[in-house]
């Protein structure tokens, strides 16, 4: 019973995807080209950066990049908070190892 329901669901999803794929416009022919044309024609003159992708990321969409940088910053903060306890323990162990190494002398 569950398998047949899943099979019917799969058929419905596959049929809608095939329908969408059949009526899709060709690759590289977007419906609205106004913004793309504007970037391609004016990005070099306006920002002075020859890499149009970078000029979009850091100039036209600067807010978005600020958000990305903030996300990375908070991710790092979250990782450091999450491993704080074991980080302290690991550093203590490492300090002990270093002390032993200093006393015993390292071969390499």
């Amino acid at each position: 019973m569950r398998r047949s329901v899943a099979f019917v669901g799969l058929l419905i999803v596959a049929a809608s995807l095939l329908y969408a794929a059949y009526y899709m416009r060709g690759f590289g022919e977007p419906e609205h080209t106004a913004m793309d044309d504007y970037f391609i024609n004016n990005a070099q003159n306006e920002t002075g950066a020859s890499n149009v992708v970078t000029s979009i990321v850091f100039d036209y969409r600067g807010y978005d990049t600020l958000g990305e940088a903030t996300v990375l910053f908070s991710a790092v903060t979250g990782v450091l908070v999450a491993v704080r306890r074991s980080l302290k323990r690991g550093m203590d162990v490492e300090k002990g190892m270093d002390a032993k190494k200093d006393n015993g002398g390292d071969g390499s």
Binding site: E46, A49, T54, F58, G62, L72, V79, S108
Partner: protein, 161 residues
């Protein structure tokens, strides 16, 4: 790690770091940018950590990198506040120091000192990504210090590597 890994890492580590720096510095001319180049430099640091252990670097310098990069990025956004936030005020001004050389449409070999705030923001984001990803790598490496690595070090000591 073994001597082979250490030797290869000490050869490859500077090359990877230089390639990452190139990606950051030329982000406004060729494919690449702050995020990608910073990730490459952080991968070089990850290689060094894998080969030589997590005691190689202090976390303080990467923490400083990260904060400095984000603050520089926000400051460069505020530079354009005379018009609006994130205005590229240095572009096409003609001053070489501020990356202001003029680039016209269709230039195939553009000058390096062009792009205004774009290359500066690339460098800021590069600093931030290097600091952030290296901090994550170092924190996970130091936190996962367990009995296995201890045993490995003991074995290395006995063998005399």
């Amino acid at each position: 790690m073994s001597k082979i890994v250490r030797g290869m890492a000490s050869i490859l580590y500077p090359l990877i770091a230089v390639f990452g720096g190139y990606l950051v510095l030329h982000g406004h001319l060729t494919p690449g940018g702050g995020f990608q180049g910073g990730a490459v430099v952080a991968s070089a640091i990850a290689l060094a950590v894998v080969a030589y252990g997590s005691g190689l670097y202090k976390k303080g310098i990467f923490s400083g990198f990260e904060s400095f990069g984000l603050l520089l990025f926000i400051a460069l956004g505020f530079v354009g506040m005379s018009c609006y936030f994130f205005t590229n005020v240095f572009a096409n001004t003609g001053t070489i120091v501020l990356f202001g050389q003029v680039v016209s449409y269709g230039t195939t070999s553009p000058p390096f000192f062009s792009g205004g705030t774009v290359p500066m923001m690339n460098m800021a984001v590069g600093f931030e990504v290097v600091g952030g990803l290296s901090l994550i790598i170092l924190a996970l490496a130091q936190a996962s210090f367990d009995d296995e690595t201890e045993v490995e070090k003991e074995v290395e000591k006995e063998v005399g590597l």
